[in-house]
């Protein structure tokens, strides 16, 4: 065999290797490019979806805020309030267990707000200062000045969102004290109770509220809690 034919065979091997390495290189290039595109796409999707969630929250808050304006829809009797007051009293007692400075007003005048501790424990207050955002502090100050039920509801919702359920209960009761027919105050109260493991209390509150308001929301929430799906 001529030496050039040997060289030709060597070239064929070399060529096959070259093609294979080029194919691999192209494949890797495509893979890296795909990964980059996917990463960029995912990032952009996240960026676009985040503001939507925020706007939904804002909407929920803005919807819940003016509820107090419907205060003339229902005319409750006082019996359920007494029951609720009793529940709140028990809750306040549970929350203040172990705390030194619990000061409860036990005026059972049918107003549920009066049944809760006027000052929650120092522990909870301290936690509030550190864990909540500055806007809640501002809202609380605003509430102190205006006694606006909408602000109380917002504060209660925010505490519920932050899983500070005793505080959420406290502010739902404050709202309820202003307007006993405010649906959000009942629902936040029930949901917070449920989250604290007080399922029966939560269900009882919803039953009471439903009897007087026939609220679909209350009924739905009641069913969910009853089935344990909440």
């Amino acid at each position: 065999m001529h030496e050039y034919e040997i060289v030709e065979k060597k070239w064929q091997r070399y060529h096959r290797k070259k093609i294979a390495s080029r194919f691999l290189l192209v494949f890797l290039g495509i893979a890296i490019a795909s990964m980059l595109i996917y990463a960029i796409y995912t990032k952009s999707v996240k960026q676009t979806s985040t503001p939507k969630i925020e706007s939904q929250n804002t909407t929920a808050q803005s919807l819940s805020t003016p509820i107090h304006q419907k205060s003339d829809i229902l005319h409750p009797d006082l019996s359920f309030e007494r029951n609720l007051g009793y529940i709140a009293k028990r809750l306040a007692h549970t929350n203040s267990h172990g705390a030194q400075t619990t000061n409860m007003h036990k005026k059972n005048d049918g107003n549920i707000t009066n049944a809760i501790p006027t000052h929650t424990t120092h522990k909870i207050v301290a936690k509030t200062v550190t864990a909540t955002k500055l806007d809640i502090i501002a809202l609380r100050k605003q509430f102190a000045q205006t006694k606006d039920i909408g602000i109380a509801i917002i504060i209660a919702q925010e505490y519920y969102r932050q899983k500070l359920y005793p505080l959420a209960i406290k502010w739902s009761l404050k709202a309820n004290n202003i307007d006993k027919n405010n649906e959000d105050s009942w629902l936040i109260f029930a949901k917070s109770m449920y989250k604290m493991g007080k399922k029966e209390t939560a269900l009882n509150a919803l039953r009471i509220y439903y009897k007087k308001s026939h609220s679909n929301k209350a009924a739905t929430l009641y069913r969910l809690m009853l089935k344990g799906k909440f």
Binding site: H2, E3, Y4, V7, E8, K10, W11, R13, Y14, H15
Partner: protein, 257 residues
Amino acid sequence: MASNIFGIAKSCFVESNNPQEFIELSSNIVHLETLEELAEKPFKLLLLHGAPGVGKTMLLKKFSQKRSDIYYYERPFATSMELHKALSQDIFSQGRDIFLHLESLSPEQAKIVILDEAQMYDEQMLEAVRILADTKKLKFILAMHSSHNEHLAAKEHFKTRIFKTIHVEAPDLREFYVYIQKKLLRNNLLELAKSFTPTNAKMIYRFTRGNLRESDKFLFTLFDMLEYFFTTKGIDPSTIDRKFIEMAAIYLGYIDA
């Protein structure tokens, strides 16, 4: 016959230092003109350096043909005695002491002596050259490799005596293509010159980096292969497949296949 075409093409690239085969490129024409200008000046020493195979020897041979007062020595001298003797014989046609001869020359009659492969000279030889140059009757051009900075030793030795240093470089890709084309056309290989594309030249340039000696060897091998495969397998002679360029590169060890 295409096989003859490849055979003729092959012969174009057989290594030769015949100045008749000097291919004028823009870069080496500049050097040639510089040397011609400097030849008129009363210099003692010129240093011409470049990597092996870039065309220094061919350039100097071409330059030596331009004038009658140039004495070109391709091979280095072993001793200063040999150098003196050769100069006496060639310049004055007598074997007498070179210094006695030189005294009879006027500065205007100064001769140009080209010593190729000057990187081979040791300190003693360089000193002998310096003494001869100091007579101002002999103007030396020392050509040497600069692949390992050999020229720097000579530069250091002569210091102020060096009138100018010329650095010869390999041609760039465009000039390299022109070089191949001119070589082919000089041998009336018009069709082959047409089929030899700039891409072909680029591939070869990638391997040889434009070094003319290496490129000549590469092109010789390429056309030899083409001649063989045309004869045995009847390949298309109108194009030069990159396969054959790669095969030549494998054959010459540029590609480790």
